[in-house]
């Protein structure tokens, strides 16, 4: 017999009450844990995707849309930009490196991104099989694309105009899979990457070109287009002048990934804050419920407590007993909440993966979860404080004389 065994026997003796308190606490903890996991992984993922990209240049339009379309591949592009202007930008002394993107087609919901090998290199892509493209219409597919479409090396597929299914199919120019990437936890997982010339070839019919054997020569310079440019600055000073230069002197729009992602987080943040407040309300109502349960238990148990004193228990032992009971409830609630939170995150991850959106996993732990557990334990102890104090003050003789 000890405090833990005794507390546990009391919790077991009131299963419904105990279950309610544990559940309330667990739901609060689970909600916060789920929010933590989701926002943490989302931010982590978005930061990784935008890493090393100082500026994105696209057609005039919303900077947010440019970032969403060119970095995260979650939105449609604002339009196209002339190849000649892109060339000028790449030669600007403030630009260290430029990666062009030619977008517009997709295959079964996965983006086809025409670019240069620099793009793969930028994300440190590694091949699970095959190689990079060497000529137009050779494609490298991300791990998620391979898993979902079942395409392997050497298989062919037709791109579809637009981003969803049901667009106009480019039947004349099938892509061939020549490489499959390892899963990297970046946007590459969900992309089909090819040379930008491939995209030009596929859309050559718009310019009435039938022979596509050397697309660079056959397209006039004015007919060549990119969708967006990913830039890396040559100098920190560029941040002050390059975006302004582009916005004022060209027909293009510059967008800062750092700024736009921060803006995006602050918008999402409002919703997260509301949910977090809701979860805190849950946790504190759980605390209140634990308090009421222990307070009532105090009344039901006043004889038990008095009898324990006659058996030699010190007041501090009784106080410890009730505090431990609050703590035990909180501990079970927190453990269940953690499990539920991670379970929910895993389920959410599966749902989102099916929708080919962001990836969230429940098999990740973040350090802030310890704070949530601490909070739950604190609430448990706090709720037990007044009942514990009353137990401490039990008047043995008066209690026993009444019964």
């Amino acid at each position: 017999m000890n405090i833990a065994a005794l507390s546990f026997s009391y919790l077991k003796a009131r299963p419904l009450n105990t279950a309610l308190n544990v559940l309330l606490l667990a739901l609060g903890v689970a909600t916060i844990v789920l929010l933590l996991l989701a926002t943490h992984q989302l931010e982590d993922r978005m930061r990784r995707d935008a890493q090393g990209i100082d500026l994105v240049v696209g057609a005039k339009g919303s900077p947010m849309q440019i970032i969403l379309s060119a970095i995260y591949h979650l939105d449609v592009p604002t339009g196209n930009i002339p190849w000649k202007q892109a060339l000028e930008i790449s030669k600007h002394r403030a630009v260290k490196r430029m990666i062009p993107l030619a977008l517009g087609d997709s295959y079964r919901g996965f983006r086809i991104a025409g670019t240069t090998p620099d793009y793969l290199q930028h994300y440190g892509a590694r091949f699970a099989g095959g190689r990079a493209w060497q000529k137009p219409l050779e494609a490298v597919i991300g791990a998620e694309v391979a898993a979902r479409t079942g395409h392997g090396l050497g298989t062919k597929f037709h791109g579809v105009h637009g981003l969803g299914d049901g667009g106009h199919a480019h039947e004349d120019h099938p892509y061939e899979v020549v490489g499959i990437l390892e899963r990297s936890g970046t946007v590459l997982d969900r992309l089909i990457v090819t040379s930008y010339q491939s995209v030009w070839v596929v859309h050559a019919e718009h310019h009435d070109i039938k022979d596509v054997s050397d697309i660079e020569k056959q397209l006039g310079d004015d007919e060549k287009e990119f969708t967006a440019l990913l830039l890396q600055y040559a100098t920190p000073l560029a941040v002050a002048m390059l975006p302004r230069y582009i916005n004022n002197n060209t027909g293009m729009q510059a967008a800062s990934p750092a700024y736009e992602t921060a803006r995006l987080f602050s918008i999402i943040g409002v919703g997260v804050d509301v949910l977090r407040a809701f979860a805190l309300v849950l946790i504190f109502s759980a605390g209140l419920s634990v308090f009421i349960a222990l307070y009532n238990a105090m009344n039901e148990r006043r004889y038990d407590l008095a009898v324990m004193r006659t058996l030699g228990a010190r007041p501090a032992t009784l106080m410890g007993l009730l505090l431990f009971e609050g703590l035990l409830l909180a501990l079970i609630g927190a453990a269940l909440g953690l499990a539920l939170g991670h379970g929910f995150a895993e389920i959410l991850g599966h749902v989102l993966r099916a929708a080919q959106q962001v990836e969230i996993s429940g098999r990740v732990f973040v350090i802030e979860e310890l704070w949530v557990v601490g909070l739950a334990l604190g609430v448990g102890v706090l709720a037990a404080l007044i009942p514990a104090w009353r137990a401490y003050r039990t008047d043995i003789a008066a209690t026993l004389a009444r019964g």
Partner: protein, 212 residues
């Protein structure tokens, strides 16, 4: 074993207990008699060390209870006093054997499962060790309460109205059982009762008058 001198207890200004003197030697068996309201329960609480009288001295097992404070008094109670309450008050959430182990733990004694089982066996409760109190008959529950009181081998065994609401046969049984258990651990036995049937069975009587 205990000696009470000029013990008074007031409650809300009314005197509820008056004992001019009462001495008992170790191992003696006593009845504390008196009508309802004569302070039997109050005196029992004084003897048990859970009530400090308003005046007078109570020396129990060589210790002056008035001089003992806090944790020392709790420890003294656990080690020396066994009490069987009128309304038993077993721990409903614990099994019978755990009720006994709780008693050992709270008294600061080693938790001796063999001793607990031996006491239960002596009270014909060996097969009830794992039962919960609510599964027991009143007679069984009362024997568990006795077992809990004697498991730590107290020097003073107290019982509050143990025979009320019992028929004659059961009354005699319970009395014999308390006497036997007290004798087994050499405890002084004090039974508070207003039950006239028990008078003839225990020769030492301390009679409380109606409250003044």
């Amino acid at each position: 074993m205990f000696e009470l001198r000029n013990v008074r207890h007031d409650y809300d200004g009314n005197e509820v207990l008056r004992v001019d003197g009462w001495q008992a030697a170790q191992g003696e068996q006593w009845l504390m008699l008196g009508p309802s309201g004569s302070g039997k329960t109050t005196l029992l609480h004084v003897l048990a060390g859970i009530l400090r009288p308003s005046a007078g001295s109570a020396i129990i097992a060589g210790e002056n209870l008035a001089a003992m404070q806090g944790a020392r008094l709790d420890r003294f109670r656990g080690a020396n006093i066994g009490i069987v309450l009128q309304r038993l008050h077993l721990m409903e959430s614990l099994s019978v054997i755990d009720n006994l182990l709780l008693s050992q733990w709270l008294a600061g004694a080693a938790q001796d499962r063999a001793r607990a089982q031996e006491v239960l066996a002596g009270l014909d409760l060996a097969d009830k060790a794992d039962a919960k109190p609510h599964q027991l008959s009143f007679g069984q529950a009362q024997r568990v309460a006795v077992a809990r009181a004697v498991v730590n081998r107290p020097k003073l065994l107290l019982a509050d109205e143990p025979t009320s609401n019992l028929d004659d046969a059961r009354c005699a049984q319970v009395l014999a059982l308390l006497q036997a258990q007290a004798a087994a651990c050499g405890a002084t036995l004090v039974i508070a009762t207003h039950d006239q049937r028990v008078k003839s069975r225990i020769p030492n009587h301390h009679v409380l008058g109606a409250a003044a």
